[in-house]
Each structure stands twice: as structure tokens, then as C-alpha cells.
Amino acid sequence: MSDTSVTSPPKRAGLGSLGFALCVALLALVPWFTGSVFHFHIAIMVCLGAMAAAGLATIAWVGQLSLAHGAFVGIGAYTCVLLVTRLDMPFLVGLPAAAVFSGAVAYIIGTPLLRLRGVYFVLITFALNELFRLVMLEFPSVSGGSSGIAGIPKISLFGWELRDQSQVYVFTLLMLAAVMALLWTIRRGPLGRWFSAVEENMALAESSGIPTARTQNMAFVIGSGIAGFTGAIMAHYIGFISPVTFAFQLSVSYVIILVVGGRLALAGPLVGALFLVPLPEFLRSAQEYQHIIYGVVLIIVLRFLPAGLTALPGKLSQWRRSGE
């Protein structure tokens, strides 16, 4: 991404990070304090949004923005649901299969796709997302057509069905933690350094001996695999999927979560989802304005906080210092 004001991951992982982790942990406990089923539902949706956006973030770390992310969530959802309902596989087989299959699709189309950069990559992923919807609608025997697949069984682990929202929440929270841990490991390892080298300066990375094409493809495969993983959980929690579920709008919502949270920060997807997913619930009385508010928030963040809400504390202390 051409944004130069964005700094690489902050090195001073001291008090700030600790405080942030504490805040997130406290927020994660909120549904238990209130005990409301509805709050558990919101919390699950936050986790799912953060997880999918984390996949999108992985792709953003090599400097690409995918508008086909919703389609990969869809590929994972359909993979898992079809395995569970048609072949009677357990959910715990379908879930990794969803991630692997989404990743495999990304691997196959990634090589030709990632030759394109910037807006051209965005445009082709936009076209592919649309193509996914159209093709799925053409095969109702697989996708259920425009009426979709309803009555998807609930998530079950070793024959134990997660009936309660609170149980699903614990499971989703653990999965989100696993995804974030994976990303944290990647960022600290050599692959993470390759990612940021490719993102910052492709030509320089290439001439330093980094296989840029393979690095980008790796990020695309990991990110899309995470999308498929999210899709499987989402499908079995909500219980209904159709090709329209995974249309352009879903991809856009993930872009908004990521951009508002912060494109290049590890915590970006978390912050974005925590802020945006519950937002409509606080605006109950003004529900029809919900999307308008999303749009306004997006434009304002892009304009004044191009590195996202995660950069807000840094900016604030900067303003305070310059104000003195």
C-alpha cells in the first residue's frame, strides 16, 4: 500500500501492549457479566469479523487489498457444510478441510493474480467475487441456488453439540486466539520480515534475494485459508448460507473493519471488529443510519488516521506533545 506514514510494528511492546491486551480480555468477558444471549451473539459476530479481517490483514501485509475475501469465506462455508451434510463428516473434519480447500483455491489462482498490483488487483478480485456468486447460482444442486442451504447442523465437537450461545462463544474465542497466535508467530518470524519487505519496497525486496512472488502467494494462501476457516464456523453458527451471503457487501465489510482498525497493525482487525460490529447495537434508535455511519467513519478514518484506530494512542500523545 502506498501509505508511507504507516510505521512498521511498534517495537516498544511495553505498557501499551499490556494495557491493550488487558482491555481486550476484559471486553471478551463482558457477555458473562451481563449474561444476555444477545450479548453473546454480538460477541460471536465480533470474533468472526475479527477472524476474517485478520485473514484480509495477512494479504494486506504484502501490500495487496483483496475484494474477493467474502468469496473465500463462502468457499470455506460451502466446503464444510457440504462435507458435514452430504458426506456425514464430523464438523472437526470439515473445519480444517474448509481452511485447506480455500487455501488451495487461493494457491491455484494466486500465481497469475498476484502479478497485478494496486487497484488492478482490487479490480480482478472484485470481478472474481462476482464470478463466484454467479457460478454458485448456476449450480443450485451444490449451492442451494438463491434459496441457499438452510438448517445447517450446529457446531459439534466429538459428538458434543454446542447448543448454547455461550458455548459457541467460548469455541469461537479460542479459534480467534489461535488465529491471532498464528499471525503473531508469522510476524515475528522470517516470513513476517519478508512480508513487510515486500510491502515496503517490492523492487528492493526482490534485489535482496527475497522471492517476492512466492511471498505474496504465501500471504494470499494463508489469508484466504483463514477466510475459509471463518466461513465454516460462521455457516454452522448461523445455520444458513446462500451465494448471496458471500457477495460483494461481505467483502466490503471486511475491508472496512480492516481499514478502520489499521491495515498494517497486528491488532488492527481486532480493534476494527470491536468498534464496528457492535456499533449498530448502540445506534438502535437510528438503525437506518447504520450504513451511512459506517461510510462516514470509513472516510474520516482514512482521512485523519490512515493507519487506523490502532494508531490513535500514538497520534494523541503526538498531538499533546506538539500542543505543549
Binding site: P112, L123, L134, V255, L298
Partner: protein, 287 residues
């Protein structure tokens, strides 16, 4: 059979003209401002609502309504440039993401203001024109006629006026254009306004044929995308060729195969062109 071919040909040309109006505005905005405008379809929708307000609420004649739509759209474009797009001039990706936000604001604004239901638009003309076996409804002929006039007017403005020369210079090289005295502060808002006005006029022209609702912008936006990808982002001759091609492909595939096949064929074509020749059929190599 030959009758069916000729009929498909005419329908294809009508479609192509409308796609061209959408695509030229879209590609002009990209050429001048380097912004892939995801909100372009919403200006088509706004144009259609402008026409509805002019004709049914205010009782104005159709021609006056169209003229008012153009003026309003240019002003709206200048405002949007100032408020939304100006900070992202040098940043293609952020500008594009901002346009996603703008699209949400405009569509849901229209939803609150006009409600979700499609609204009927009174027919401007009725009856059909006959040429031998061929039948063209007069309403479509009117749309086609005005569309062609608007496009010719736009061509003259772009190719034979000082303002048009400035715009074309901007598309070629911003800095050199500025050095030669092209005033960016005027050209950016007007360029965006002009691009948006073309979309709004297309919406106002299509309103009598397809009705009006807050959701009508999505399909034309998609067509504009397809056309500019096939023709090359920023290339107007490319857009002209691709718009006609797309209109004909759609009209023939839906006459002889099916409508959903037409969509799949065009999207597959888009993916193929982007992979093989990302700069489009007639575009300049830059991707």
C-alpha cells in the same frame, strides 16, 4: 433467424450506448484523479431520482429535467471532490476505499429519503418504430437518440475546446499539465463533476425504461467496471470499443443462450483480459 440477429444487433447497440455513458464518466474520473470510483453507480441512481423529481413532482418537461440533472450533478461532483476525494489525490488505494464509503452513504441516504420500493416513471413517448420486420419501441429510440447526442456533445467538449484540452493534458501527465498552466484547482472538481454528470444523465435516460429505486446503481456500476477493464482504465477509445462489444455480447448471448450465461461469459472475459493484458485492449501499458 436473420430477423433475430438484426434485432439483437439493435438491442446491443442501445445497451452499448448506455454502458458507454457510464464507462466514459468512470474512466475520465480515473484518468484525471486516479480514483477507481465505486460510487459511480450511485450517481446513476441519483440522476434517475433527479429525473423523477423533475418530471413528476415539479412537472417540468423532460428536456429541462435532463439539463437540470446535468447542472446538479456537476455541482454535486465538485462538492464530493472537495469534501471526500481531495485528500487522496496521490493515493489510488485510499481514494478507492473512500469511494466505497461514499457509495454506502449515498445509497442509504436515498433509501431513507425515498424508501426501498421501486417507483414507476411515466413513459415519455409511446408506440413503436417499424423498419420492415424490425421493431424498436419509441421509448428506447428516444433514449438511444439522446444518449448519442450527449456522447457527441461530450466528444466535442473534450476534443475541440480549451477546457477539454486541459482535461486530456491532465490525464496524460498531471505535473506537465500544471506547468503549462492547466489550473488543477478548477479542473479536478469540474472533471469529477463532468464524469458524474454523464452517469447522472445515463440514469435519467434509463429511468423511463427501467424504473427508479435506491438500488439501481449496482448493475450499471458493474457494467462500467467491465467496460473500462476490457478497454483499459483511463482509455476513452478503449471504452467506446469495449462498451459496444459488451452490449452486443450481452444482447446476443441472452437472445441465443440465456441471460445468466451472458453474465458469466462477460465476467470470464474480464478475468481473462486482466490476466493477459491488464492495461486493457487499447489501454496504455502501466499495470
Amino acid at each position: 433467424m436473420s430477423f433475430l440477429i438484426a434485432q439483437s444487433l439493435i438491442n446491443g447497440v442501445i445497451l452499448g450506448t448506455l454502458y458507454l455513458m457510464m464507462a466514459i464518466g468512470f474512466t475520465l474520473v480515473f484518468g484525471i484523479m486516479r480514483i477507481v470510483n465505486f460510487a459511480h453507480g450511485e450517481f446513476y441512481m441519483i440522476g434517475a431520482f433527479m429525473a423523477l423529481i423533475g418530471v413528476t413532482w415539479l412537472g417540468l418537461p423532460y428536456a429541462a429535467t435532463l439539463a437540470l440533472t446535468v447542472v446538479f450533478a456537476v455541482l454535486l461532483g465538485a462538492l464530493v471532490e472537495r469534501v471526500v476525494f481531495r485528500p487522496f489525490r496521490s493515493d489510488e488505494l485510499s481514494g478507492m476505499i473512500a469511494s466505497l464509503g461514499l457509495a454506502m452513504i449515498l445509497q442509504n441516504g436515498a433509501l431513507i429519503f425515498f424508501g426501498p420500493d421501486p417507483q414507476a416513471f411515466p413513459a415519455m413517448v409511446s408506440g413503436v418504430l417499424r423498419f420492415g420486420d424490425l421493431i424498436i419501441p419509441k421509448s428506447r429510440a428516444l433514449t438511444l437518440g439522446i444518449g448519442v447526442v450527449v456522447l457527441i456533445g461530450f466528444y466535442v467538449l473534450l476534443m475541440h475546446t480549451r477546457f477539454g484540452r486541459g482535461l486530456r493534458a491532465l490525464v496524460q501527465d498531471q505535473q506537465v499539465a500544471a506547468l503549462y498552466g492547466v489550473r488543477l484547482e478548477i479542473m479536478y472538481p469540474l472533471g469529477l463533476g463532468l464524469g458524474i454528470a454523464l452517469a447522472a444523465v445515463a440514469g435519467a435516460l434509463m429511468a423511463p425504461l427501467f424504473g427508479v429505486s435506491p438500488f439501481i446503481g449496482a448493475a450499471p456500476l458493474l457494467k462500467a467496471f467491465i467496460v473500462v477493464i476490457l478497454g483499459g482504465l483511463g482509455s476513452i477509445p478503449g471504452a467506446a470499443l469495449a462498451a459496444l462489444l459488451l452490449g452486443l455480447i450481452e444482447s446476443f448471448t441472452s437472445s441465443f443462450v440465456s441471460a445468466s450465461a451472458a453474465d458469466i461469459v462477460t465476467f470470464a472475459l474480464v478475468v481473462a483480459v486482466l490476466l493477459i493484458r491488464p492495461s486493457g485492449i487499447l489501454g496504455r501499458g502501466e499495470a
